[in-house]
């Protein structure tokens, strides 16, 4: 199925990208705006499709982990640098607190990167200009505990139950609903659990910031075909 969904999007994104880059001649102002709209919508749709397919794959117990030895310290630093640009535009400070004795862990590098990227970009998205976000990592027993926090808009208590449902998004003065997919958080949770870790969200309420805490065991605890709760509920 994934092939069927992605192939038409390859055309939509590819051709509009070439038009936008004006390889075959200049566009007028209006044309440029229109083509850019096609392109950003296509890219958004591709992200959405990728996340939905990943979600479905985890749900079906078919997501496999490609394990390797990971330096979490390096990985966190790399991704913080990756998002530093977007944070800089909003004059948001990123605080890094990584324990010196943080050991390497066995984990799926791409998936751990995706988790941390999702959480950091959420933190930036939901934090007003001039705010702070941070990431902490330390060793707790035979696991690494990572905390991503922000001084942003927080989560109203009535919405706490909805954020893992998928497609839940809030419109804020700092971000448009169209920016996200609403799947980054539930998918991150699934990917953490796939490694045998735990994932939780804390917020004291609206405008009180958000704190996300997750753990990754040094060596993943594969749970086999454990019955997972449905994310559609």
């Amino acid at each position: 199925m994934s092939h069927e969904l992605r192939t038409p999007l390859t055309s939509i994104n590819g051709f509009s990208e070439i038009l936008y880059d004006e390889f075959y001649g200049p566009l007028n102002e209006k044309q440029k705006v229109y083509v850019n709209n096609i392109l950003t919508s296509g890219q958004h749709l591709l992200l959405l499709i990728n996340q939905i397919l990943d979600m479905a794959k985890v749900e079906a117990g078919k997501m496999k982990l490609a394990l390797s030895s990971l330096s979490m310290k390096r990985l966190i630093t790399d991704i913080s640098m990756l998002v530093a640009d977007i944070a800089g535009k909003k004059k948001i400070h990123i605080l890094l607190e990584i324990a010196e004795d943080l050991p390497n862990i066995e984990a799926d590098e791409l998936k751990v990167k995706e988790i941390i990227y999702n959480l950091l970009s959420n933190a930036i998205k939901f934090t007003p200009e001039g705010g702070k976000i941070g990431i902490r990592a330390k060793k707790v027993d035979s696991q690494i505990e990572v905390v991503v926090w922000d001084t942003g808009i927080g989560i109203a208590s009535e919405n706490m139950g909805k954020i893992f449902g998928g497609f839940f998004r809030v419109d804020t003065p700092f971000s448009r609903v169209t920016e996200g997919t609403g799947l980054g958080l539930p998918l991150s949770k699934k990917l953490v659990e796939l490694h045998g870790g735990k994932f939780s969200v804390e917020s004291d309420g609206l405008d009180k910031g958000t704190l996300i805490r997750f753990t990754l065991p040094f060596i993943p605890r594969m749970e086999g075909k454990d019955e997972e709760k449905s994310f559609s509920g």
């Binding site: 994934s2 092939h3 992605r6 192939t7 999007l9 390859t10 055309s11 994104n13 590819g14 051709f15 990208e17 070439i18 880059d21 390889f23 591709l46 496999k64 490609a66």
Partner: protein
Amino acid sequence: MKKKALVVDDNGNNLMLEQDLLELAGFDVFAAENAYDGMDLARKEKPDIIIMDVRLPDIRGSKAAKILRQDKETRDIPIVFVTASVMAEGMEEINDIPNSGFIGKPINTRTFAKEISQFIRKDN
């Protein structure tokens, strides 16, 4: 002299996209929509590089590559697979093909021709 590239993809739109990008980058491009036509063109034109979809209507791209590897006329042409499944499960069938590489789908139009060129430089 212009470098020759052969693109094999059964999806007409993908084929056009890849062909246009390579032509813009200065390649002479030959195109085929199935593996057997692609292999015929490879023997006839002896391209500097072959860009191949993994799923083709007649035989899989990986199978076609193995056939090309047995022919001394086409044995040394680098082959780049364009594949949607860059995950470990899908890679096994192309891993043991010498002088080959892969690019994940969807392709990045801004870097595609450059990525392809690197496969030629690296292997010649």
